[in-house]
Amino acid sequence: MRIFAVLVSCLLIAATSAAQKEKREPLTEAQQDQIAEAGIDPAARVTLYVKFLDEHAETIRGLIKRAKSPARAHRLDGELQDFAALMDELGDNLDVFSERKADIRKSLKGLNEGVKNWQGVLHDLPSEPGFELSLKEAVESSNDLAQQAKQITSDQEAYFQAHPDEKGQDRWEPK
């Protein structure tokens, strides 16, 4: 029975360390500091995410032009994972800010333009076995984000037209 307990412990530890190894951090320390500075400001957060995603898109665009090699495929695999993770994070942020009725229309404008560009970059990248799955996930994330941004934009336009006194608010306040 002791052997069984030791075995289960080993499996638990192995699973935890494997999960830790796989977890990527899509933001650099400097980028995390900028997010921290934005704090709870919804518009500033969205603008920053758009900026960081633009930077990732440019990196991927640069890698597309390079000659095919295992190192390039590996780099693209990581970049695409980070790109998708950041888009998903931004999507979560948007969910929260739209729930709170935060006025993020100015940032959404940048996002709607940005997401078209990101979709274009992903479209220009032909799939290869080394990053096939990451590319597929990034394309899905970009499509979800494009749809979400479009929906929130139209919802916000309608909401703030109906509630002009709430323009520029960080969140809805009971009256």
Partner: protein
């Protein structure tokens, strides 16, 4: 058989360590370094995590303020109380129905309000106004968290 029981206890203790941490509200002595780390974490966190993390920071700040006040460091204690008011406002701004650990945030804010009430009763007349203002802000944030939990 004994080893199985011991192993079970070990596993349960690992799995429940978070709950134990949340329930031992008065155990660890607060310090500025921990508070700074908590605030940095809260600022960086995803919006759904921020409410709880700010509540945790506000709780620690209150404990430290009480200690400082008891030690005669009234200026430092007052400075912290003013900061608590700012962060109570941040809790208000960052709170939403689907926030993670909202119930825990509510418990922390409730305990913070309780500790501030104790501080109010033990403070001198000159200092009571600031404590009262801080208590009002924290109580408002706690009521809001409670409403969000009920509305879930």
């Amino acid at each position: 058989m004994r080893s199985i029981v011991a192993y079970g206890v070990f596993l349960v203790s690992i799995l429940t360590s978070g709950a134990i941490h949340a329930s031992s509200l008065d155990s660890a002595p607060p310090d500025q370094k921990t508070i700074d780390a908590l605030l940095a974490k809260a600022d960086q966190a995803q919006p759904r995590d921020q409410c709880f993390l700010y509540a945790e920071a506000v709780h620690e700040m209150t404990e430290l303020s009480i200690r400082q006040y008891a030690a005669g460091e009234t200026t430092k204690a007052a400075g912290l109380l003013k900061q608590i008011q700012q962060f109570a406002q941040k809790i208000h701004l960052s709170m939403a129905q689907n926030d993670k650990r909202l119930k825990n945030a509510e418990i922390l804010l409730s305990h913070t309000a309780f500790r501030l009430t104790e501080m109010l009763h033990s403070s001198s007349l000159d200092d009571q106004e600031l404590v009262k203002q801080t208590l009002a802000q924290v109580t408002q944030a706690q009521n809001e968290a409670m409403m969000q939990v009920f509305n879930k």
